[in-house]
């Protein structure tokens, strides 16, 4: 099996008023899929810097002198960030960082993400938690959100009762085929997330499942959602985009509730409406780590 991540001869230096700090000197490492690597070292040895360099979040005054970061068929992530000049100019440093941002946009949050040391500061204090989780899904997988919302609007109470029966009696794969038959694929994860909350009584769960079938959405919403699924460019125009973001984020918050309940966070519906400072430290850390990979379907 080939390496998922490979770092070759990475050299990184910091330019400060006091001189040049050579932080990463010829770092080599490799990771296969499914492996876990733990890095231990003194404080100041460059552990965080290495991690940040891999995901491309280097500081302005950092220079990547040489090296490669190969990730999962994406090639060398930092190819364009290698300094060619001999002189250090902070303007160039900033430009390179912006380039990195653009390049790595689709990888970050989707295939590669980072959990920061301090959970208090990694969340934006002015935005609701639900939004900050929903954000990730919105930017990486808006189709999923649109599918979910549409499926919910299409399903009828009768179909829902049939689904509940299926859940109680037969296996998952039957449910999957039932849903795809009816064109309700987006409903799958919503159903499973409710069904798997075994701390609730079965009656309660049934009621929650039934409430999913609450049906109608406005014609405008439907139009936008379908457009998102078909990836029509028109929905990227300034004003339309705002509305699209609004409804998709709303859906994203629902998904955030599911994600949090999977973590065992109590009262996820309430947590999602709260702000970071209202959570305890442990909760915050759980939320921050949950932001790891909310877009992969297999967690």
């Amino acid at each position: 099996m080939s390496n998922l991540l490979e770092v070759k001869n990475l050299r990184l230096e910091f330019y400060t008023r006091r001189g040049v700090y050579k932080v990463l000197n010829d770092v080599k490492l490799s990771l296969k899929r499914g492996e876990v690597l733990g890095l231990a070292g003194e404080s100041g040895s460059g552990k965080s810097t290495l991690g940040l360099a891999i995901i491309g979040l280097v500081a302005e005054n950092a220079i990547i002198v040489s090296g490669e970061v190969l990730f999962d068929g994406h090639g060398n992530l930092i190819k364009s960030a290698i300094w060619s000049d001999s002189k250090f100019k902070i303007k160039k440093g900033r430009k390179l960082i912006k380039q990195l941002h653009k390049q790595l946009l689709h990888i970050r949050g989707k295939e590669m993400s980072m959990v920061f040391q301090d959970p208090m500061s990694s969340l934006n204090p002015l935005l609701k938690i639900g939004y900050q989780i929903a954000e990730v899904v919105y930017y990486h997988n808006p189709k999923l959100l649109a599918q979910r919302a549409l499926a919910r609007s299409k399903v009828t109470k009768q179909e829902m009762r049939e689904i509940i029966d299926l859940l109680k009696t037969s296996e998952e794969s039957n449910l999957v085929s039932y849903l795809s038959q009816k064109g309700l694929d987006g409903l799958y994860e919503q159903i499973m997330s409710i069904w798997q909350r075994t701390n609730l009584s079965e009656v309660k769960r049934e009621r929650m499942l039934l409430s999913l079938a609450n049906g109608g959405i406005s014609a405008l919403e439907k139009l936008v959602l379908e457009g998102v699924i078909k990836e029509r460019k028109i929905f990227d125009l300034p004003i339309v985009r705002r509305y699209k973001k609004k409804i998709l984020v709303k859906e994203g918050v629902r998904k955030a509730v599911e994600l949090l309940s999977q973590l065992g966070v109590p009262h996820p519906e309430k947590v999602v409406e709260m702000y970071p400072h209202e959570l305890s430290g442990g909760m915050r850390q759980r939320v921050a780590s949950r932001l790891r990979l909310p877009t992969t379907p297999n967690w």
């Binding site: 995901i55 979040l57 902070i90 303007k91 900033r94 912006k98 941002h101 653009k102 946009l105 689709h106 990888i107 970050r108 949050g109 989707k110 993400s113 980072m114 920061f116 301090d118 500061s121 990694s122 969340l123 934006n124 204090p125 002015l126 935005l127 954000e135 990730v136 930017y139 990486h140 702000y275 400072h277 209202e278 921050a288 932001l291």
Partner: protein
């Protein structure tokens, strides 16, 4: 705590400020003796025996024979009843409340236009010069802002006059409207237009669009002078706040989540950075509403600031106390507005 309770609490705290403010000014302006209260409440149009009679009545009512804090108390009583006294200045003589009514509209127009301009221009400039830090745009903006910030307000106003009024002869710079145009119009008398006292609106109401346009032209330079002065501070503040926010962890975290740069700027960074500049902005609006003295004097706009200066320079106690009260109320309202805005934007402020 609910929002209205919070507001009530803030109001209660702010009342002493208002009282303190007016008290200090009262003491200072009445330190010359009880004659000044007389000057304040004496109707300047009376004379002879009527005047004597009123003097007697006033002494009675205001307890002018008693120490200053007693006098203040009775003055406060009168104010709460709505009697603000008389003002006696070269441009206007009569009840203070009338003075408010006559001068406020002009100041209001100027304030609104200048504030809107400052916000609309200042926001993007501040945000983008932070985003494109040290780029050409940033450097130019910073230099311009620094230069404007260092100029005294009157210099900004005078320079504008020189450039646009004298050199290029494009815009008028005195008064609120060209007097030749309004000479024969029935809704204009003695420098005041009716019914709203705002030339533009009144002219539009009466269908005289040429006059309205002319009045608008007269407003451009003063508003520009006002907003240029405030823009500088606003942009610098916004820029520095944006830069500070950029250095914070949650921005890095947002990047690592894969949020595109544009959204990081507009959603994450801007929201956090705007708090302090917004505060500043509200104070600015309060200051403008109180009458930007310098600009009104230079451009000959009969507004609150102009009247205040005249009152102060002429030792017109009624005017002094009246305008202090007005300014105090505006400031208190502004502080309240800031507190409320803060509570609304920043969820960490508990109410």
């Amino acid at each position: 705590m609910k929002l209205w309770a919070y507001i009530l609490r803030r109001v209660v705290i702010l009342v002493p400020t208002l009282i303190g403010l007016t008290f200090i000014v009262f003491v200072l302006s009445h330190s010359g003796g009880p004659n000044l209260v007389l000057a304040e409440y004496l109707n300047p149009h009376l004379s002879g025996s009527a005047k004597q009679a009123q003097i007697k009545a006033l002494i009675q009512e205001f307890h002018l024979n008693q120490p200053i804090y007693v006098q203040y108390f009775y003055w406060l009583l009168q104010v709460l009843k709505g009697n603000l006294g008389y003002t006696n200045t070269p441009i206007y003589s009569g009840p203070v409340s009338q003075a408010f009514e006559l001068f406020m509209p002009n100041t209001l127009m100027l304030s609104i236009i200048a504030s809107v301009f400052t916000w609309v221009i200042g926001m993007p400039l501040g945000v983008w010069s932070a985003v494109k830090k040290d780029g050409v745009f940033d450097q130019t903006t910073r230099i311009a802002a620094l230069a404007l910030y260092s100029m005294p307000f009157y210099l900004i106003a005078l320079s504008l006059i020189i450039i646009f009024g004298v050199y290029f002869r494009v815009l008028p710079f005195s008064g609120t409207v060209n007097l030749l145009l309004v000479g024969s119009v029935p809704w204009y008398q003695n420098g005041i237009s009716y019914p709203t006292h705002i030339f533009i609106i009144d002219a539009a109401i009466h269908g005289k669009y040429m006059i309205a346009l002319n009045a608008l032209e007269h407003l451009i330079l003063p508003s520009l002078a006002l907003s240029l002065g405030s823009l500088a501070a606003f942009i610098r503040l916004l820029r520095s706040q944006m830069l500070e926010v950029f250095g914070q962890d949650f921005i890095r975290f947002a990047y690592s989540k894969g949020v595109p740069e544009k959204d990081i700027i507009t959603v994450h960074a801007r929201k956090n950075a705007i708090i302090v500049p917004l505060t500043n902005f509200v104070y600015l609006v309060a200051f403008l509403l109180g009458g930007a003295v310098v600009v009104e004097s230079i451009f000959n706009i009969p507004g609150i600031g102009y009247w205040t200066t005249q009152a102060l320079l002429n030792n017109d106690v009624g005017g002094i106390m009246g305008s202090t009260l007005l300014f105090g109320i505006i400031l208190v309202a502004a502080s309240l507005a800031i507190d409320v805005i803060y509570a609304l934007i920043d969820p960490r402020v508990r109410y």
